[in-house]
């Protein structure tokens, strides 16, 4: 089943990063195994004597996937806006994964810088995918400045701890029913991605959990299944939880009744 995000129609609900793989070959195989149609990339300084950026870009171009440039490493709205503009020129896309980091220890997004940059970038015609905390008020303000996509963290980037605050994520889903919600960062297991989808999220964005697995290609496939399973579960409607046990086999006709 297809879905739409940022003006594009996708089949997969798993967005994948391009960093930290043991080799470019394994990265390509893992991306393919994930079934993802969107890959994130960053922008970094390049010296004339190097052409590492060109080689990497050739590999990514050959995947044929939609490119989602990020503003990773930016610590202010000004920096993020400049990087977004540079990404738009290089990749010929108005998509940007907006990252404005407020704390270097846990790479927590700066809510104020993120909001400031999001407003400006939307005014400039960007389709902003903001990496944000799971704070409801921040998310509402991002929506108010025009964001139609939000990417709250599950846990700090690269920790693999899973969804630390399911209540907050569930609240976002309930309060922002028309916004595309993706959990970005902090997942380590396929079950974490499955849980995000079970909460009603529209997708997940992953990198470390796949790239740092012992077998990234196999893990990419596992995550793809988990995302599908979680989405199917949410669409199916889960049974209500009960405090007390309730037998599933009929009581009437029970032999040896005493």
């Amino acid at each position: 089943m297809t879905w739409e995000i940022g003006g594009k129609t996708l089949t997969s609900r798993l967005l994948i990063g391009s960093a930290l793989y043991p080799s470019p070959e394994i990265m390509c195989k893992a991306i393919k195994a994930s079934g993802s149609e969107v890959v994130t990339v960053s922008l970094r300084r390049q010296n004339p004597s190097e052409n590492s950026g060109g080689q990497f870009w050739d590999i990514i171009k050959n995947t044929g996937l939609h490119i989602l440039p990020n503003t990773a490493g930016c610590h202010s709205a000004k920096e993020a806006i400049a990087i977004a503009q540079m990404g738009r020129e290089i990749f010929a896309t108005n998509w940007v994964k907006l990252e404005v980091i407020g704390d270097d220890y846990n790479l927590q997004p700066d809510p104020f810088g993120t909001l400031e940059a999001a407003k400006e970038l939307i005014d400039q015609g960007f389709e902003v995918f903001p990496y944000c905390t799971d704070d409801l008020v921040l998310c509402q303000k991002l929506v108010n400045v025009g964001c139609t996509i939000l990417m709250p963290w599950g846990a700090p980037i690269g920790t693999g701890q899973g969804l630390l605050n399911p209540f907050a994520l569930k609240t976002l889903r309930a309060r922002l029913p028309h916004i595309k919600l993706l959990v970005d960062a902090g997942m380590g297991l396929p079950s974490h991605a499955c849980q995000a989808m079970e909460l009603g999220f529209d997708g997940v964005l992953l990198n470390s959990a796949i790239a740092l697995a012992n077998k990234p290609v196999a893990m990419a496939g596992a995550f793809a299944h988990a995302v599908d399973a979680g989405y199917g579960a949410y669409q199916s409607g889960t049974m209500p939880q009960r405090e007390a046990a309730s037998p599933s086999s009929p009581i009437i006709g029970q032999p040896f009744w005493h």
Partner: protein, 67 residues
């Protein structure tokens, strides 16, 4: 000559150099890069009319792995 910074490294270019001239001198031959001067994005179409000044910080960036 004026002194400026390319990706944080000190460089010198002729007085009155445009960004286009500096990019050529520094031998950026690939097309997959973008440039900022003093943290302001400069579109490729403006390289010729962007004159560099003493102390400018120029960043040339290219695609890289990212999450």
């Amino acid at each position: 000559m004026i002194a400026l910074f390319l990706n944080g490294q000190p460089k010198k270019v002729a007085i009155g150099s445009s960004l286009a001239q500096a990019i050529a001198v520094w031998e950026y031959t690939e097309s997959n890069f973008a440039v900022a001067v003093n943290q302001q994005f400069v579109p490729r179409s403006h390289y010729h009319k962007t004159v560099l000044n003493d102390g400018d910080h120029i960043d040339v960036i290219a695609p890289m792995q990212g999450g």
